[in-house]
Structure formats: C-alpha cells, structure tokens
C-alpha cells in the first residue's frame, strides 16, 4: 500500500463486476419481502397483503419439503467430495507427466467439457445411458439386463454426480496444478538426496505442500451444499426421479415460476439463502482456523 492512485486503478477494474453484482444480486434482494406477503404482481410489493410467516409454515407442511432439502444436500455433498478428490488425483497424476506436450494436451482435453452447457450435454448423457446406448450394449456382452439409468431412483443420483464430476474436474484441478508449481523445487531436490523415490516424494513433499489449498478449497465449497446444480438436474430429470432428484432450485422453478406461486417460491429461496449465509460464515471461521486464510 505505497501509492493510493495505484489502488484506485484496481478498484476501477473491479467496477464492472460490482455493477453486475449490484444489479443482479443486491437490487433483487428487495424482492425478499414477497416471502412475507401474498404477492400479486399487479398490486406490486407495496400493494400486496402481508401474511407474516404463513408461507414458511405452509412450506413445512408440504410433504415434499423434507425430501427436497434432503435431495439437495445429499447430491451437493457427494458432488463436492467426489469432485475434490478426483480433481486432486488428476492434478497429481498430471504433475507426474514429464512430456510437456502430453501434459498440455491432457489438460486441455479434460478442460473442454466445462465449456459445454448442460442443455447440450444432457442430450449426450441421455443417449449414452439409454436402453440402446453404448453403456447398456456393453453390459449386454456380460449378460446383464439393460438398466434404464436416467429413470431409476437408484441410479439417477450416481449419474448426476458422475456426469457433474466428469464435466468439472478438469476445471477444478487448475487451482491444484497452480499450487503445485508453488512448491519449492529445493524440497524435491533435498528429498532425492535423501533417496526418496517418486511415490515417496509425492507423499512427503507434494501432498503436504498442497494441504493448505485443499483445505481452503474444501471450506470455500461448504456454502455450496445447498446448491446442487439447477442446470444439470433440470435438463436431465423426469417425473419418475423427482423422489431422488427434485432439489430446491428445480422445485422453486416449477412451483414458483411455472405455477406462479411467487410468494412460496421466494420463501423457499430465502430459507435456502439463510442456511447458505450461516454456512459461509462458518466456512470463513473454519478456513481461518485451519489455513489462516480469511475470506472477509
């Protein structure tokens, strides 16, 4: 912090992001009051009648609500856990590749699915796992009866997790690859001197070196346990798997927007945000304790 003017430039760079945040995240927050009203669009927020906590009470009476919350948390937790492990393992493996071209090539290839939207990928996934798809054809060679993966309450969640991890692990591994380069090469040299083989170096140098990043990323992921991925599920699910795959976001979309129950939809969304902020605060505390890093 030597020169004030330098800082101004950085803050100006931040401005577009801030404007975006204000317009799309802060201003819409006024709409939260809808959760305590019986909102009627023509009357607006000022004209609609106040109903106190009725929407929340109703939400708890809906037989679906428990199921929807449970689905959201289970799916999101699995995605975080599996996604983190796969990303780390991949980063470690990639780090062991010595041919530079192969390394770059692999990195680009696994990074690609991240750029495709779920609207496209959903069709691909549906076809691969359909009755006539390659997966069932493969199972057929071993005499296994075809499984309808996308319409089975047993299989749908694993499919969600699998495809989400597949799409995201290339992107997720970038941060680990970056912190791998930050590990002091002197440590590896010293380990070699002591006669450590590649695996031992991985175990005693690389992993401990990565630990702060792993802890940080994991804690920062905590608030996401209520965010199970609307795009993916909305494009893949069908009524038969509502039981295991209907999450808060898809429910709010169907009931709040399509069936036009604005107030109820807002109430559900608000509850989600409240739990989300509690998680963010505790993640911050946890990150501070474990890695000495503060988000704010």
């Amino acid at each position: 912090m030597k020169n004030k003017k330098d800082q101004t430039a950085f803050h100006l760079m931040l401005a577009p992001g801030m404007i975006f945040l204000i317009i799309f995240s802060f201003i819409p927050m006024f709409g939260i009051v809808m959760a305590f009203q019986n909102y009627v669009p023509a009357k607006g927020i000022s004209g609609s009648s106040w109903v106190g906590l009725d929407n929340f009470k109703f939400m708890l009476q809906i037989p679906d609500s428990k199921q929807i919350f449970a689905n959201t948390i289970i799916i999101a937790l699995w995605k975080i856990v599996v996604g983190t492990i796969v990303s780390i393992v991949f980063a470690l493996l990639l780090n062991e590749i010595r041919v530079r071209f192969a390394k770059r090539f692999m990195q680009t290839v696994v990074y690609l699915p991240n750029f495709l939207s779920w609207a496209i990928l959903a069709t691909v996934v549906m076809n691969i796992f359909s009755y006539e798809g390659p997966v069932n054809a493969f199972l057929g060679w071993f005499g296994i009866d075809p499984v309808l993966f996308m319409a089975s309450n047993t299989w749908f969640r694993p499919m969600l997790i699998l495809t989400d991890v597949w799409k995201g692990f290339g992107y997720g591994s970038i941060i680990y690859l970056a912190s791998l380069t930050a590990i002091d090469p002197g440590l590896y040299e010293a380990a070699s001197m002591d006669g450590a083989n590649r695996f031992k170096k991985l175990w005693y140098v690389t992993l401990p070196g990565l630990m702060p990043t792993i802890l940080l990323v994991t804690t920062l992921n905590l608030p996401n346990v209520l965010n199970a991925g609307f795009d993916q599920i909305f494009n893949l699910y069908n009524p038969l798997v509502y039981q295991t795959a209907d999450i808060i976001d898809t429910y709010v979309y169907r009931v709040g927007l399509v069936e036009r129950q604005y107030s109820l939809g807002t109430a559900v969304g608000l509850l989600r945000s409240v739990v989300g902020i509690i998680l963010i605060l505790s993640a911050n505390k946890l990150a501070q304790k474990l890695t000495d890093y503060r988000i704010f």
Binding site: M1, K4, Q7, T8, H11, A15, M18, I19, I22, I23, I27, V40, P41, A42, K43, F58, I62, P63, D64, M126, S130, Y131, E132, L148, M150, A151, N153, N238, P239, L240, Y242, Q243, R254, V255, L257, V258, E259, R260, Q261, Y262, L264
Partner: protein, 570 residues
C-alpha cells in the same frame, strides 16, 4: 485504505446504484390514450367498430405465439417466410392493415405455458396472446393486466362468430366473463371425439393379425409387434405403446395417452366426476383406477409399453413412431398428422385407426373436455383491444367462408398442404361437431366429383387435397403424406367415429378453488409420480391405496369440499 479513498469508493458505488435504480424504474411511463381522439376520425372509427374495416394507418401489435415449423416450407415459394411474414400475417396486413411483432415464440404445450408464466411474472405481457387455461385467465383478471373486451366483442366480432359461440349455449362465452365483463375470447373446444388407437397395418398384415376390438386383442397385436419385429428393427428393438410421460391420462384430446384404457375400467383420472349422488369426486382417487393401473403395469412388464417412456421428450415420441421403432399409440382422430412423416421415410408404412379397446357391449366411453380450454386476451392499455375480435373474425369467419380470391386461397391451401399454420394467433372457433359435421357432404362430393355443396373454404381446399389423395391411390402412385394424413383423419377416422358406439360422460367441474392455488402443484406431482412408479413397477398397484390416503390428507379432501361448495353456489 485512506478515508479519502473510501469516500471516493462510496461515491462511485452510490452513483452506480442510482444509475441502476433509474434503469430499473424507467418502464412504462408514457402510454397516452389516443383512442378517443381517433374515434372522431371517421376512417379510424370505421376500423375500430366493425369486424372487417381496415385501419387507415398500420397498427403494430406484439404477440406471444406458438412456434411454427417454417422449415417445412423449404423448397416452396414461401421458403423465406417467418413468424412475422407469412400467409396469415400478410393476409392480416392486407385486410386490416395490422402487423405483428413477436414477443416470444415457443412450442405448443409445456414450453409455451412456461413462456406465458414468465411473461406474467415480469409484468410485460404481449399486446395479444393466448393463455392456456382458466386459472391463468383468472389470475390475469385479478391482477388487472388484461383489457375488457365486452365492447370489442359487440362491435367487431362478425355475425357468424357470434352464431358459433351461441351454438354452445353460452357455456363457452360465460367462462370468460368476470363480473359481467368479457375479458377474453375463448377457444371453442370442438368435440375431441374418443381416443383412437393407431396401429401399423402393414405390420399387422405381415403377421396375419386381425382388427382389434377388445383389450386382449390389442395386447396380442402389440405383443406380436414387439416379439416378431415386423419392422426389421432387430430383435428386441421394437418398442411398445408410445405414451406421454407427463400426461399419462386425463387430458381431453390428449396425445399419446391411456385415456381409453382407463375408461375401459370406468376410471376417469384428473376429472371431477359426479358420484351418482350429486357430489363431485376426483377421478384419480376412485377405486376403478386400481385395476386399470394393474393392467398397465402388467403391460409394461411384458414390454407392451415403451420401456423408456419416462425419459422421452415430445420429439422422441414422434420419432419413435415415424421411424418405425414403434407401431402403436393411442391418440385422437387427428393422430395421422403425427405419423404423416413415416410415409416419407418408408413408403410401405401404413397406419390405420381403430376405436378400441371396446367394452363388452362394443362401446367406447370418453369424457368430454372443458368447453373452453384456452383464451385470447389483450393487454390492458393496448390501444386497439378490438383488434383481437377483428383478427378472430377474419381468421375463423371471413377467410373460411367469404374469401373468394383464387390467388390468396391457393397460398393458404399450399400452406396447409405442407402442414404449416403460421397464424400468430392459434385458437379455434368452430361448431361443436365440426369434425364430423361435414363428413357426409364431403364423402358425397368426393363420390360425385362436385364440390358445389361445400360451404367453407377450408372444406373446399380439403376437398382438393382428398381428391388428389384418392387419385394417387387409384393410379397406384405413392400418396402425398399430408394429403394422406388429412384424408385419414377427417374422412376415414371421422366416419369410423360416426359409426361407432361412443358414450360420453361429462365431468362437472373445470375451474380452480382457493386452496388449489397452494396445494394443487404438490398434489399433481404426487399423482404423476404415482402413475409412473406403478406403471414402471417401481411400486405395486397396492401402493395406489397409500397414494389415495396421502392425497386426501395433503389437501385433497379440503379441495374436494371446496369444489362441491363452488358447484352448490352455481
């Protein structure tokens, strides 16, 4: 960070915030009403108070419309037509001097309904649009978003349109009246007729199968289709009955449904039925449902129902049938239009319609639909609410009965020969028995080759299409798929229905009640899951009793009570 810098930051943020706020609150400030001024001008007055008078200046209106597949026009002189420039919009421009702009376009059904919901949420509805159900209309009225069309109807609707509405004895028009004001022009729901079973006749012939009558016959035929693979799909690749995953049954005129099978067991899912003692009861929870569901789950187990129906989209369903993967579905009399493309892909493909499964006395029971299912509304504040009435009169009266210009009519019949509609406003206003009303006259005309008895342009254009179909059959040429579809739907199937023993039952309630608003989404979801789970074997038919129990406890009983109160108050 210094104090000064913080101040700069806050100022900057505050400035941004205020800019954003201004940006958000700028909407609709200037809608000055010029209509009263225009009424003093005789040319404008003429246009605004008659059905067919043209406006002195072009009037532009935005519209939410059902998507049309203009790609079907490729290769015709109309290949460049689109949603705002096609045979209908040009006709409207020519006759009334009006031009549409498209606010949104979406496929008919779920997609379109979502767009309508979104438009209402954002408070920016198009000047004119069709809303898909009564509860949406009710909500628009309660929210004061739509215009009163009472005067527009009185002045700018043609006599024939009024006559058609009157032929329903008020039950259609009254459904769009709130506090004595007409708030929409309702679709007249012409009789959908009974559900029709469509089968691949060429497959049946190949396997030596007889025409189906009973449920057993149908099961036998589909079983043979699936097991013997007459279409050459490869062993085990032929799919059974194709069915809609979100509307398994219970929609009048629904496509790919099991309505007929439920009706065979006396079950009428999703309908409010009279229990015989004057009380309304919900069809989906009646004991008759259970044997029907048992039958369906049994059929699914045997592979007689598409094993993957739960994950199919509308496009998938159509593709299964047209590509010859499946040879059976239950639909309506116009089901031939769905499979018309299969003739393009395979010239041996031959679909036939049956009124089946029949009960022991040879009859098929159908439930009648809501006399009006969708509504044409005009945004409140739109300067020319009468435009809706004028367009409707032009589209459903003048163009059908009065238009005599050969070139114009040719353009329309070219369009319909390619199965493209194009009109920005898709409702229908026609006589209740429209679909079999003219079959006799039409058949007579086709036999004698003299179309002079036919009254409407639609009928005359249809006559030429049917004639060309019959000629091509006579000369042994491959018929045009769309001509085939039209003839098969409106002549073959319509006469079949006319001859058949059809029983109609009338549901007693179509509206919505206070508690429905909050509880219906949950109940419908529960019901839909129940169908899919029981049919696919995820649950046993005995779980139906559990569903009934939960349904009642979760608000079903309360809603039933409200429905009965609403009926008593009528």
């Amino acid at each position: 960070m210094t104090v000064k810098f913080r101040r700069t930051c806050s100022i900057l943020l505050a400035a941004l915030l205020s800019v954003a706020m201004v940006g958000c609150s700028k909407a609709d400030t200037s809608t000055t009403n010029t209509s009263s001024v225009k009424l003093n001008d005789p040319a404008w007055k003429e246009a605004m108070t008659t059905p067919f008078g043209a406006y002195p200046e072009t009037v532009t209106y935005s519209v939410g419309q059902m998507a049309t597949k203009f790609t079907l026009l490729a290769g015709s002189p109309y290949a460049k037509d689109n949603a705002t420039n096609n045979v209908w919009t040009r006709y409207f421009k020519d006759k009334l001097n009006v031009q549409n702009t498209s606010k949104f376009e979406a496929n008919d059904g779920k997609d379109y309904n979502q767009k309508v919901s979104m438009a209402i949420v954002s408070g920016e509805i198009p000047d004119i649009m069709v809303v898909p159900d009564y509860s949406t209309l009710q909500q628009l009225y309660e929210n004061d978003l739509i215009a009163d069309l009472t005067d527009a109807y009185k002045n700018s609707t043609s006599d024939r349109i009024k006559e058609i509405y009157d032929s329903y004895g008020g039950r259609v028009l009254d459904s769009a009246k709130f506090d004595g004001k007409l708030m929409a022009l309702p679709t007249t729901e012409i009789s959908h007729g009974p559900g029709i079973l469509w089968l691949r006749k060429d497959w049946m012939d190949k396997l030596g199968l007889q025409e189906p009558k009973t449920m057993d016959d149908i099961e036998h035929i589909i079983k043979e289709f699936v097991e013997k693979d007459p279409g050459g799909n490869g062993a085990g690749k032929t799919v059974g009955l194709v069915v809609d995953n979100e509307n398994v049954a219970g929609i009048s005129g629904g496509q790919y449904t099991f309505n007929n099978i439920f009706a065979l067991y006396g079950a009428f899912p999703k309908q409010w039925m009279d229990d015989g003692k004057g009380n309304a009861v919900y069809g989906s929870i009646q004991p008759e449902m259970k044997p029907a569901l048992t039958k369906l789950s049994d059929m699914y187990k045997k592979g007689l129902i598409d094993r993957q129906f739960a994950v199919r989209t509308g496009d998938d369903r159509k593709a299964l049938l047209t590509s010859g993967k499946s040879g059976s579905f239950i639909d309506n009399w116009w089901g031939s239009w769905i499979v018309a493309d299969s003739l393009k892909l395979n010239k041996d493909a031959k679909w036939v319609s049956y009124v089946a499964p029949q009960s022991e006395d040879g009859s098929v029971t159908m439930f009648t639909g809501n006399p009006s299912s969708s509504y044409l509304v005009v945004r409140k504040g739109f300067e020319h609410p009468e435009l809706a009435a004028k367009i409707v009169s032009l589209q459903y009266d003048y163009q059908r009965y009065e238009e005599k210009d050969e070139a114009t009519l040719k353009e329309f019949s070219d369009y319909s020969a390619l199965n493209v509609s194009g009109s920005p406003i898709v409702i229908n206003i026609d006589y209740y028995d429209a679909f079999y009303r003219n079959v006799g006259i039409m058949k007579h005309a086709l036999e004698t080759g003299d179309p002079s008895e036919l009254k409407s342009n639609n009928d005359i254009s249809a006559y030429h299409s049917y004639k060309s179909y019959l000629d091509s059959v006579k000369s042994g040429k491959a018929p045009d798929p769309n001509a085939w579809a039209g003839y098969t739907a409106s002549i073959t199937t319509a006469s079949l229905v006319e001859k058949s023993n059809i029983k109609e039952v009338n549901p007693v309630f179509f509206g919505s009640t206070a508690s429905m608003a909050l509880k219906w989404p949950t109940l419908s979801k529960m019901e839909l899951e129940m169908y899919l789970k029981i049919i696919t074997g995820d649950q046993t038919p005995d779980d139906f009793d559990k569903f009934v129990d939960t349904w009642k406890k979760t608000g079903g009983d309360l809603i039933t009570k409200e429905v009965n109160e609403a009926l008593a108050a009528k």
